[in-house]
């Protein structure tokens, strides 16, 4: 005789219905290492066929699975091997052509995003990488679902400052090419320090060279579940109790994600990869990481104390999540994208949250400066400086950091960029007006840091 507990059932339904518990993404990680050839057309065809072969049932099976458990799966995505590797053997590689083929395959199988238009250049460029970099803006401007990422630094290799400069140019080019749509191509491009190999989240998902042929990686969500639990906690509860509560809720969220991931992987007959513990917000009321800080007792995100609140949240989510799953990976932590989080947007509007505070917060969160809109006339050198600072935090602290920043052409501080859907609305933020040009233009490679004498 099976047993059921009424309270557990009601709690779960509340989590889904009121607090937006959902699976943010199921991401099919797919290796394209067998798609290389000397002809760009042939490589494109091989990539297209492979995506169709492996992903043709992804969307329908995901819908079937969400129906069985009544937990929404918000996005279905694909992460490919870095295209810079796959295209490099072609004679006169046309990366934009490959990008379009991938996008076409993505449309055909009905996924929301397809990532892996990526390059890993933390130590330097190959000839192919250089060519690839040049073509990123056109590729992003001419496709809908394609996402691109580049790794610019690691704790082991240091930071490729020449690549940082090129990346700033790419971001500006992307912004200009899509200026009629609030520079949206920039939202599909991210640069990393210490990029992870099994990330299911966009824009940075790719299937690294050390990954299996294919796997299903899961990203959960549910900041609303955590904030409502904290709100219901005794107002005098100390931070130890708050942390413990977050752990418990993270455990529940993660087990739901793992169950659905495994079930879907089984249906697709592919291995289950990892579950990414990240708390991903969405631009809806009650689905916000900033609201967790408010539930903890901060008036707005960005108030003094926010870095600690985030550090504690991140740590507790990891502790609870690792208990719930055998295979945890990806970025795992809390995301703090500005445009995708209503509480963050409100905090910016209240002048509580600035780009400098966000930078400090990225030293303890799972990713970095994410979905931040800045004035369209920001000089490329300032963008390079912002990236360089973020890469430095990642390199020194041996963690992943990223920058996804949008210089919105034609708009200035105080205005808004509208991206729609999960990408939300971004207030244009103030940046430092003084020049970093002579510094960043020195270029070269920043040496890898010492890994002892940690102070």
């Amino acid at each position: 005789m099976s047993y059921f507990n009424q309270q557990h059932i009601i709690e779960t339904i509340k989590m889904i219905k009121i607090h937006h518990l959902d699976i943010r993404t199921v991401t099919l990680s797919l290796s394209l290492r067998d798609c290389c050839s000397t002809s760009c057309k042939k490589t494109g065809a091989k990539i297209y066929d492979k995506i169709i072969k492996y992903a043709k049932n992804l969307v329908s099976f995901a819908q079937e699975t969400e129906n069985e458990y009544s937990i929404p799966i918000v996005n279905k995505r694909i992460a490919l091997s870095p295209i810079s590797f796959i295209g490099e053997s072609c004679d006169n590689t046309d990366y934009v052509y490959l990008a379009k083929k991938i996008d076409e395959a993505g449309q055909e199988v009905g996924v929301d995003f397809i990532g892996g238009f990526s390059a890993l250049v933390d130590k330097g460029f190959t000839k192919g990488d250089l060519k690839f970099f040049e073509q990123i803006p056109d590729a992003l401007a001419q496709t809908k679902k394609l996402c691109s990422s580049v790794n610019l630094g690691t704790s082991k290799a240091g930071i490729n400052m020449d690549a940082v400069l090129k990346t700033a140019d790419i971001i500006k080019q992307c912004a200009i090419l899509t200026k009629d749509f609030d520079s949206i191509a920039c939202a599909k491009f991210v640069c990393f320090c210490n990029a992870v190999t099994d990330n299911p989240f966009m824009a940075g998902a790719f299937c690294a060279v050390n990954e299996a042929e294919c796997a299903l990686n899961i990203g959960v969500s549910g900041p609303g579940v955590i904030s409502s639990a904290i709100e219901n906690l005794d107002k005098n509860a100390d931070l130890g109790e708050v942390s413990n509560l977050i752990k418990k809720m993270a455990f529940k969220i993660t087990t739901a994600g793992e169950l659905i991931g495994r079930r879907l992987a089984q249906k697709l007959n592919i291995p289950f990869g990892i579950i990414d513990l990240s708390l991903a917000p969405a631009p809806n009321k009650g689905d916000s990481v900033a609201e967790i800080f408010q539930a903890m007792g901060l008036e707005y995100a960005g108030a003094h104390g926010t870095t600690l609140a985030l550090a504690m949240l991140n740590d507790a989510v990891k502790k609870g999540g690792t208990m719930a799953s055998s295979y945890v990976g990806g970025l795992s932590g809390a995301f703090i994208p500005v445009s995708e989080d209503l509480g963050m947007i409100e905090a910016v509007n209240k002048n509580s949250l600035t780009i400098d505070k966000l930078e400090a917060m990225t030293s303890v969160c799972s990713v970095g400066l994410d979905m931040i809109a800045i004035p369209g006339d920001t000089p490329n050198s300032a963008i390079a400086g912002i990236i360089a600072d973020e890469m430095a935090i990642g390199m020194i602290n041996k963690k992943t950091t990223a920058v996804r920043i949008i210089p919105v052409i034609g708009k200035k501080e105080g205005e808004f960029a509208q991206f729609g859907g999960l990408l939300g609305t971004a207030p244009i933020m103030k940046i430092n007006k003084y020049s970093s040009e002579s510094f960043v233009n020195r270029g070269g490679r920043v040496p890898a840091p010492i890994h002892s004498l940690n102070n």
Partner: protein, 94 residues
Amino acid sequence: MKNDDNKIIITVTGIDKVGIVSAVSACLAEHSVNIEDIKQTIMQDNFVMIMLCDIKKIKVSFKEFKENLLELAKKLKMEIWVQKKELFDKMHTI
């Protein structure tokens, strides 16, 4: 554990009225879904019924069965959730 795949939880909530249990049970019987346990309460003036059922002998697909139940929910002006039981077992036990 294999059996658990056939266990589902049906949660019916809404304003209490005559005939809810009868209508839902009739629909389940029509689909050859066996009721193993029922718990019923009133929470904040709302009728809440939770049923543990087995769908081993179900005649249609899970999707179709669920659609039919949701159709009934509309008619009854109640909210009905149909979920595999495994979800609750995993989420709330270590």
